[in-house]
């Protein structure tokens, strides 16, 4: 091999950069579960778990439009037709009242920071 | 020579792209599209592999029986020798940035003259033998095997590339078609395919010391004659030292300059300049060639022809080498000579101008400097008395030759000299000068008569740029530092910009140079009448030279 020094440095840099998804993962902690704590004693959400996990941001986005732009405060569940009041504060956060044990568990880990809390009050434990 | 079409016809006659895929088109060997093959005895004398008689228009090129194996092996060998080749075969993304940078493509509109496709001709062969996908998928991924048509195609397009490197400048990865062309030519030589116009000078240079085959006594005779002409013009007969031992400087210039117009006037310029400086220098009849047609054949042939420079510098015990105006000569000297034949002989020293004391550290290892550097330094130090009015009949422009421009970076030194010897200077459009300069269209051994129309085509970008400044600014002259240019540009100018003359830089220096004790000049070096401005008054006062030095 010619220019071995430069080439080897180059290869090392290359490997370091492109194997980074593997070794950077070891810098912090592992992430094997979300650690979300569901509200104790509540049995029913407006939709099923799978939908809520993947689509809650879209639902909230629609709710905001319904409530503020359409003045519609009634949401009908696709699950069982049950009617819910469109309100983050009064419907969602009524049960999901623990921000750090619920929202934050996924949002911080996945670096998703929506602008909910520029208007709404972040729920704190034991307080509505 | 066949009659040439008019420029309008030539431009209009460029065909559209063929409908067929480039894999399926074949070059048409019609007269004027190819150069004549090298003679068998020439190839034999030079010990080239497989010398044979052949005719480019014939179906059968009489290649050795195992030509395919020879070529495959030679290609594999070159891949081992040149990282550039491996790399350039692998990393081209076919972005097409190089396409309209090539003067051959602009002039012919032949898609295979796009540098990318010219390289694909070889790359397709590389894919089949040296890449996994090519082996597996063949033509679907642009791979193909060797066959006779491929060899013919390689020959056709390797000799429609002047190794000017303009494409390389624009390539985002610096892929250099010159490198690929040089290697393709090497491969073709492995099966005995070469050009007469290249191999004949190579043979001459090998056995007489210069491309033109001028024997020592004739060389002396011609130079003496040029010295006589100098006397006719200036009243001073310059010294003509030959093969002088222990001179300070060995001066080497392309033999074209002692042989043909307008190069001879440049040569006279050298003679006058060196005489005026009372330079301790010598010519050599043995190393009487600056150019190197070997560099259009193979790396080894270039090395062989170049070896004479250091050998002679050692024998004559000179301190350093001064090189004349030549294009590919300087590509070889700047980028290859020291590697080929260095280190410089022990008797040599870092070049120091004996007139100004300037140490040329840039040539610390090769011990060879370009005469434009040498003269620019003289002018900077006010060592020359110059009367640019003697060139007042000229509105000149500057042609950057491809090799000094893109293989060396010699751009401002000659301009500095030119602006001091000629008052009327206009640059051609910016995309046609300096590092973006266009080739004369006939470099790398293609300056032969039989392809004159092709030369006019490939010279179109240069010719057009010259015509533009001619029409717009009244330019009537183009200067250059390349002997091939001095041979190829006059017909090009006659065709694209009739009325423009061509000269080397030092012809103009020779004209402007006010020599000690010279007779009143009435003629320039071409023995044409000097412009009236130069005759009106006495030679400029001494102060003039100083103000010259301070200026740009």
């Amino acid at each position: 091999m010619y220019n071995a020094k430069a080439v080897i440095i180059g290869i090392v840099i290359f490997v370091a950069i492109f194997s980074s998804p593997f070794w950077t993962g070891w810098i912090g902690q592992d992430y094997t579960k979300t650690g979300v704590v569901l509200p104790a004693g509540e049995k029913e959400c407006i939709e099923d778990t799978e939908f809520m996990r993947a689509q809650h941001m879209r639902l909230l986005d629609e709710w905001r439009d319904q409530a503020l732009r359409e003045e519609n405060r009634v949401y009908e569940s696709a699950l069982n037709g049950k009617k819910w009041v469109i309100s983050l504060q009064n419907t969602c956060l009524k049960c999901h009242s623990n921000y750090s044990e619920f929202c934050e568990k996924c949002h911080v880990a996945n670096s998703v920071y929506p602008y909910c809390w520029t208007c709404h009050i972040i729920p704190t434990e034991g307080k509505r | 020579m066949a009659k040439l079409p008019t420029p309008q016809m030539l431009v209009a006659s460029r065909p559209a792209f063929p409908d067929k895929d480039w894999f399926d088109t074949k070059p048409d060997f019609i007269p004027g599209s190819y150069c004549y093959p090298a003679k068998m005895e020439t190839m034999e004398m030079l010990h080239m592999p497989h010398p044979h008689e052949w005719d480019p228009t014939a179906e059968n090129w009489n290649l050795p029986e195992d030509w395919e194996k020879i070529l495959c092996d030679a290609f594999a060998d070159r891949l081992e020798k040149h990282r550039s080749l491996k790399l350039f075969m692998d990393i081209c993304v076919r972005c097409g940035a190089c396409a309209d940078k090539c003067h051959f493509f602009l002039g012919t509109n032949d898609p295979k003259n796009m540098p990318v496709l010219r390289a694909e001709l070889l790359r397709s062969l590389y894919r089949r033998d040296h890449t996994m996908l090519g082996k597996l998928l063949g033509k679907r991924v642009g791979a193909r095997g060797w066959d006779m048509h491929v060899v013919k195609e390689l020959f056709y397009y390797a000799y429609q590339c002047t190794e000017c490197r303009r494409c390389s400048l624009f390539c985002p990865y610096g892929i250099d078609t010159a490198e690929i062309t040089m290697i393709v030519r090497e491969l073709l030589h492995e099966v005995g395919l070469g050009l007469h116009w290249i191999m004949d000078p190579v043979k001459n240079c090998s056995f007489t010391g210069n491309h033109l085959g001028i024997q020592p006594h004739s060389y002396v005779e011609i130079v003496e004659m040029l010295a006589d002409d100098c006397e006719t013009v200036t009243g001073i007969r310059p010294k003509t030292p030959f093969n002088k031992k222990n001179a300070e400087i060995l001066f080497i210039t392309p033999s074209g300059d002692v042989f043909a117009e307008p190069g001879i006037y440049t040569f006279m310029g050298y003679l006058l300049l060196f005489h005026e400086l009372d330079l301790d220098y010598t010519f050599s009849t043995y190393a009487s060639e600056g150019g190197n047609f070997g560099s259009f054949v193979s790396f080894n042939m270039a090395k062989k022809l170049n070896a004479k420079m250091y050998a002679e510098a050692e024998r004559l015990n000179v301190k350093w080498l001064l090189g004349g105006e030549c294009g590919h000569m300087w590509r070889v000297i700047n980028q290859y000579m020291d590697t080929y034949n260095g280190p410089a002989p022990a008797n040599m020293e870092v070049p120091v101008s004996p007139i100004t004391g300037t140490v040329f550290d840039v040539a610390k290892s090769t011990k060879m400097i370009h005469i434009a550097e040498f003269t620019a330094d003289l002018i900077r130090h006010n060592k020359l008395k110059l009367d640019p009015r003697r060139n007042a009949n000229l509105v000149t422009t500057w042609h950057d030759s491809c090799n000094p421009a893109r293989g060396m970076g010699l751009l401002d030194e000659p301009r500095y000299v030119l602006k001091h010897v000629c008052d009327n200077f206009v640059e051609m459009p910016e995309n046609t000068i300096r590092e973006q300069t266009f080739c004369c269209g006939a470099g790398s051994g293609l300056n032969t008569e039989e392809i004159m129309e092709l030369r006019m085509r490939s010279g179109m970008p240069r010719g057009n740029a010259l015509r533009y400044v001619q029409q717009k600014y009244g330019v009537n002259h183009m200067a250059c530092v390349c002997a091939i240019d001095r041979a190829t540009l006059p017909p090009l100018a006659d065709y694209w910009a009739p009325g423009c003359t061509i000269s080397g830089l030092h012809e103009l220096v020779g004209n402007a140079l006010v020599m000690k004790g010279e007779a009143k000049r009435t003629m320039n070096l071409r023995q044409e009448d000097l412009p009236e401005e130069a005759l009106d008054e006495e030679a400029p006062a001494d102060g003039n030279a100083e103000s010259q030095g301070e200026g740009r």
Partner: protein
């Protein structure tokens, strides 16, 4: 072109079907590991392959004035004479696409009033440069943004990049500009291959395939983010499982994710064996990474053959009489040589 498109669609379909018939471990575990190995191993092999051949000559393409007399200004970046200058030149090449920035387009006018005849006119043509730059930088930012799936906790710099990328705060989830720009740039690069007749003529399947592949990756990624969502916490758990060599079940992850992942894997495996190797290749390019100092410092060719040439004594032997007659100095006089 269409063959390459069909191939990419086929790969996507296989991944989709595979994931939905329970082959997720194959597409989600075996393939990514294999792809990373092939990619890194392949690239090391490729670089070593290049490095095994020497650079016999010092052949930089000089893009400006050389180092010369002290009153002549050197183009220090385009025509470097020192290693530091080369570093600067390579920086402009790699990060700013310097050479592509020079790009011009030549137009031939058959009857130009100034030239009174044909004339070539050169226009600066920066479209390719602009979109190539946009594409590469977008991909870089996208790569960096993906580290939110690889690291726990997500480091602040990655959050910053996300904030800047989504600075316009359009939509929910926030629209990342680089995703859109990468798509636009790819479409441009594809369009010029299709509509520019010269490019169409030189383009091979090897050119269309990576474009379609990248388009597939970008589109599936955009879909996963904005349209057919999947729960990203699960994705992160899944990917962290892969990077910690403890794969977990992929149950519940949208099949589209496996299309995205599979296309990325195919890209990785294709990379070292294709033109995409230009990524490390540009650093190897001898016309760019060498200093124009070959007159000052001797460059060594490891296979430099022995000197063989027509020597002066041979020359004098051939022409001695004529040289003597012309009065040229000789090493051996004719009478001496005759002895």
């Amino acid at each position: 072109m269409f063959a390459s498109l069909v191939l990419v669609l086929l790969i996507a379909a296989i991944a989709w079907i595979g994931a939905s018939v329970g082959l997720a471990p194959l597409f989600g575990v075996v393939l990514p590991y294999a792809a990373v190995l092939v990619f890194i191993g392949g690239m090391i092999w490729r670089m070593t392959y290049w490095a095994k051949s020497p650079v016999p000559f010092c052949i930089p393409t000089t893009g400006g004035q050389e180092q010369s007399l002290d009153f002549i200004k050197q183009a220090k970046i385009d025509c470097p004479s020192t290693t530091w200058g080369v570093v600067k030149r390579m920086f402009t090449e790699v990060f700013l696409f310097r050479s592509l920035f020079r790009n011009t387009s030549a137009e031939i006018v058959e009857n130009d009033p100034v030239n009174k005849g044909p004339r070539l006119i050169y226009y600066s043509s920066l479209w390719l440069w602009a979109f190539a730059l946009i594409f590469h930088y977008s991909v870089l930012v996208i790569f960096i943004r993906h580290f939110r799936f690889f690291m726990e906790p997500v480091p602040a710099p990655i959050t910053w990049v996300e904030t800047i990328d989504g600075i316009m705060q359009v939509g929910s989830p926030r629209f990342y500009w680089t995703g859109g720009l990468a798509l636009v740039a790819l479409l441009f690069l594809l369009a010029r291959r299709v509509w520019n007749y010269r490019l169409r003529y030189i383009s091979l399947a090897n050119d269309y395939f990576p474009l379609w592949l990248l388009l597939g990756i970008v589109c599936s990624g955009l879909c996963l983010r904005y349209f057919d969502k999947t729960e990203i916490s699960q994705v992160k758990i899944y990917l962290m499982g892969l990077t910690h060599f403890a794969p977990v079940s992929a149950a519940g992850i949208n099949g589209l994710f496996f299309i995205h992942l599979t296309l990325v894997c195919v890209l990785l495996m294709y990379f070292p064996f294709s033109k995409l190797a230009h990524m490390p290749g540009v650093f190897f390019s001898p016309t760019r990474n060498m200093a124009n100092n070959s007159r000052r410092i001797r460059h060594i060719n490891p296979w430099n053959p022995p000197k063989q040439y027509f020597t002066y004594p041979e020359y004098e032997d051939a022409y001695r009489d004529a040289m003597a007659e012309a009065g040229l100095p000789l090493e051996k006089q004719p009478e001496k040589a005759a002895e």
